[in-house]
């Protein structure tokens, strides 16, 4: 959906997808270093234009990479589909422990795909599961995510329930609150507060995406503000295979999405071996409902 931009909303837009990416993204290297907060990559040919009338899909990845700690797993994986005609969108979260077939690497947790082959391989795995081509990937990591949110001037999140978790640093009472990048990261990482662990965490990351979209739309209503945001986003994003014209068009696509028309779901999962989760029986129906127009009619 969008890429975003942030106080520059651009960044956000770019990241809507990006944003959404919420914290994460993987890859240890280039994802976020210094002034680079995220990486946007085109993994398929073609160029989105305003005349496009087919669903557009983005993969947003949050890596567990942290300075001094390392890591390159995709601990936050979301497929975002946008319908350019209805201006509706759907976010599908994939819990990091979901067991999947990774081309060339056998069966493993979905978060390992990023370590094996970066966002492009994650997109191949997720696209294969859902049955869609994913032309755009966005990845960020802890620092990139924090910087992104802070550049936006913080993010207002309507916290749905009490969250208190010393591991992630989450400490929230329910209700709308304006959070710094660090606190949004804590909200996005908390899995110990919930009995369903990473499943609820994945859903909360979707809440961050929708919150970011709402804020971006509210703060960037004019063309000048959108151009300034795009410039900020571009300066802090490693962009591969996408020009500013396309980024601008994607931004416009994202800005047309009504946050009230965004569905935020997590794939159904069941018990697997060890800590693995198996893709649940209802997933095939969910994907079939989603892939034709990026919206859900029966879920």
């Amino acid at each position: 959906m969008l890429w975003a931009l942030a106080s520059a909303p651009l960044v956000v837009l770019v990241a809507f997808a990006v944003l959404v990416a919420s914290w994460a993204a993987g890859i240890r290297l280039p994802v976020v270093s210094g002034a680079t907060w995220m990486r946007v990559e085109k993994t398929a040919s073609g160029r989105y234009t305003p005349a496009w009338n087919q669903p557009v899909f983005f993969l947003v990845i949050g890596s567990d990479y942290r300075a001094g700690v390392g890591g390159s797993r995709a601990d936050s994986v979301h497929l975002v589909g946008v319908n350019p005609t209805t201006h509706a969108a759907t976010i599908i979260g994939f819990p990091r422990d979901t067991s999947v077939a990774i081309p060339g690497h056998g069966r493993d947790k979905i978060n390992a795909a990023n370590a094996y082959g970066g966002p492009k391989l994650v997109a191949e795995v997720v696209g294969g599961l859902v049955g869609v081509d994913i032309p755009y990937t966005v990845i960020t990591d802890f620092d990139g995510f924090i910087n992104l949110i802070d550049e936006m001037g913080g993010l207002t999140v309507d916290v749905p329930y009490p969250m208190h978790d010393p591991y992630s640093g989450s400490d929230f009472d329910p209700g709308p609150q304006h959070l710094s990048g660090e606190r949004v990261l804590a909200f996005s990482r908390d899995r110990h507060t919930f009995a369903t662990g990473d499943i609820k965490r994945s859903e909360n990351q979707g809440i961050v995406f929708v919150s970011a979209l709402a804020q971006l739309r509210k703060e960037n209503t004019t063309a000048p503000s959108q151009l300034r945001a795009l410039a900020v986003a571009a300066r802090h994003t490693q962009i591969d295979g996408i020009g500013l014209h396309e980024l601008y068009d994607l931004l416009q696509l994202g800005m047309q999405v009504d946050p009230a028309q965004v569905r935020n779901v997590v794939i159904p999962v069941g018990s697997g071996s060890g800590s693995n989760l198996a893709v649940g029986g209802g997933a095939a129906d969910l994907f079939a409902d989603f892939r034709d127009d990026a919206t859900l009619q029966s879920h």
Binding site: A223, R228, A231, V232, R235, H245
Partner: protein
């Protein structure tokens, strides 16, 4: 035997003919008076320069004075061809192919005609008065410092007496322009590819508000 026509009857006919002739002249004269709007002179469109902001996707590059002037020239052609001339002369919009990209032109003269042009208003009976606020420009430069897009913020007011009252037009919003890449484009020219416009019109029979957005 035919009765001689009384002289008075002849005189009456002469008077009647004269009256008809005079009437024709009078009508003709009246028509010429109604054509007075043809004497209406459209005001000259001059675009005051406003602030120019440069948003850089890379480390360098400038949006030159000449580039800003090209943007303002396009804005001037837009206001003239879509608003001032059509309203002043009760004529269709003209020259907009040098203002919009092909895609935007289709929308501006089609679904968005009511907001983008003033071609369908009552004709003025005296010279319109035009006020244009300074146009602020925000230019987006790519990593190499080349312009990708430029927004121009417009605020235009046009007013003139018409039969039965006064017509007032206030048009405000943003145009998004890009360097023209079409064949035959003059070097350095910009074309409008997107817009967000709000128009409020005061007419003898009421006030209307019209908006149009093209991404």
């Amino acid at each position: 035997m035919p009765r001689p026509r009384p002289p008075l009857t002849v005189a009456t006919a002469v008077v009647a003919l004269a009256a008809v002739a005079f009437g024709a002249v009078a009508c003709s004269s009246g028509g010429a008076h109604k054509a007075a709007p043809a004497r209406v002179v459209p005001p000259e469109v001059q675009i005051p320069a406003g602030p120019v902001d440069v948003a850089r996707a890379g480390a360098g590059g400038d949006f030159t004075d000449a580039q800003a002037a090209e943007v303002r020239d396009t804005v001037a052609r837009y206001l003239s061809g879509a608003s001032v001339e059509p309203f002043s002369r009760s004529a269709p919009p003209s020259g907009l192919e040098t203002v919009f990209t092909a895609d935007a032109l289709t929308a501006a003269t089609g679904v968005d005609r009511a907001a983008l042009t003033d071609a369908d208003l009552p004709g003025p009976t005296a010279n319109p008065k035009l006020t244009v606020a300074p146009v602020a420009i925000t230019a987006l430069l790519d990593a190499n410092g080349a312009p990708v897009y430029a927004s121009a913020t417009i605020d235009q007011q046009l007013e003139a007496p018409v039969a039965g009252g006064i017509v007032g037009v206030r048009r405000a919003g943003d145009l998004v322009l890009e360097p023209c890449a079409a064949p035959g484009c003059p070097d350095g020219a910009f074309r409008v590819r997107a817009y967000s416009i709000l128009v409020q019109r005061t007419l003898p029979d009421g006030t209307t508000t019209t908006t149009a957005v093209k991404k």
